[in-house]
Amino acid sequence: MTDVAIVGLGLHPFGRSPALSGLEQGAIAARAAIADAGTNFKAMEFAFGGSQDGGNADSLVNLLGLTGLQFTNIWNGCATGGSSLNAAYSAIKSGQYDMGLVVGFDKHARGAFNPQPKDWGLDDWYGETGLMLTTQYFAMKIQRYMHDYGISRETLVRVAEKAFRNGSITPTAWRQTALTTEDIEQAPMVSEPLNKYMFCSPAEGGCALVLCRADMAKNYTNNPVLLKSAVVRSRHYGSFEVFSPSQAPAVAPSPTVTASRAAFEFAGIGPDDVDVAQLQDTEVGAEIMHLAENGFCEHGEQEQWLREGVTEINGRLPVNTDGGCLANGEPVGASGLRQVYEICHQLRGTAGKRQVPNAPKVGYTHVYGAPGISGVNILTT
């Protein structure tokens, strides 16, 4: 069976673009990805795309061209990009199609997300009484984790410092100003123990990738990246999840753990083989916990890892080299694809000032989102 290659990368930088709709930002990203592959929209046999607040992804054909391709809308919360990639991977791997597009975009209002209980199978009281905030969930998860595994506040600060430092050398990042330890420590508290600079913000932006059969890849690029696995998993009974009025007595592994294990198994490699990673960092605690949940370290070991700079660009496992969600913001439909976009640049050796040294060969991306879903991709040169 053929491998699947990524041969085109396109991004409309995340942040605020008042003059553009979400859909237009998606179209800009799609055109950029197709141009990067040196081809045209007519060559796309299929597309998978998704957006939370930016409209129906398949409306993009009005902007890109009415070619009659199969265009499927994907909506899977924060794992929308991961689910689109998984669908594209399967479409090519099965032999049904040779080449296609994956695209995600969004345009969120300012401030925290305000999900509606009915959309998540919950009754109105849960939202009306102020329990349905993702910020609270992440704060409570890291609070318990700090208690159980001895993670300090200094470690939370270090993750934020790294994110904004990496953002400051990423030309497409939304937040390009490095922050000092004091800046971060003294920021207003949002949801104890997490303050303003420890959370990412809802944003706008678009991202797209062109994928094809690996044996065709050299027709489109000199440095294709292989998508070795694209896995999405939902939660098991007992994992500690967002939007849960109650949690089970027993503690089960999170969907991140099951998605990660499956992705490594499909790819036939292990965590020690990974040279550069993107881990969902909607807040600093998430990056810390996801390091362990994805199998890169033991629970609690993050304290030492952050102190020693293991996850810095020059460290043993660089994480969120473009500043992640913290420095780029989160347009939900596009965010997971931005992770893959960044890893592809790192594996191509085109990441500029933030390039990981010594020609990384294996990259890893991970998202986690409501209501307990995770997507993992493993990429190689």
């Binding site: 401030g111 925290a112 305000n114 509606q116 209980p117 009754d123 109105d124 009281w125 939202g127 009306e128 009484t129 102020g130 329990l131 349905m132 905030l133 609270q136 704060a139 409570m140 998860k141 609070q143 318990r144 208690h147 207003p188 508290m189 949002v190 949801s191 104890e192 123990p193 009974y237 849960s244 009025p245 109650s246 949690q247 089970a248 007595p249 027993a250």
Partner: protein, 143 residues
């Protein structure tokens, strides 16, 4: 005082001199859920029964909501009168952890392991002459 009624039916016993939370228990595997549900999250069974979950527990984790949430948040508060509130998961005797607003909203008092007790508190007037009530937990040490 306005007549009081639950914001949502079936979450707790009411009216009651000693209210307790209501949930469901799976007849087949014994797992509990809050709020009650007609099928079991653990084993997919459709045989569940409504049971009392008690009115005591232990604080398993917590945070403090420091900004006023956007809708669907719906209380009598205004941005001017909003008061930061504690949120936590309370581990009950049956083992499940229930998410709840907390009476306390200070880092000085909230800590993992704190013994907690249920209370029923007002949320808002419903505009039809009733005061809508919900549950929250408060420190059992401070009482």
């Amino acid at each position: 005082m306005l007549p009081q009624k639950p914001l949502h039916p079936g979450l707790f016993t009411w009216p009651d001199s000693a209210p307790e939370l209501l949930g469901s228990r799976c007849v087949d595997c014994g797992e509990h859920a809050f709020p009650s549900q007609s099928s079991c999250r653990a084993c997919s069974s459709e045989h569940t029964e409504i049971v009392g979950l008690g009115n005591k527990g232990t604080l398993w984790t917590w945070t403090i909501q420091s900004f006023m949430p956007k809708a669907p948040y719906h209380t009598d508060e205004t941005p001017e009168s909003f008061c930061p509130y504690g949120v936590g998961y309370i581990e009950l005797a049956c083992g499940i952890k229930v998410e709840s607003r907390l009476h306390e909203n200070s880092t000085d008092t909230l800590r993992i392991g704190l013994p907690m007790k249920l209370e029923i508190v007002p949320v808002r007037d419903d505009g039809e002459g009733n005061q809508l009530m919900t549950f929250q937990f408060r420190s059992a040490e401070a009482l």
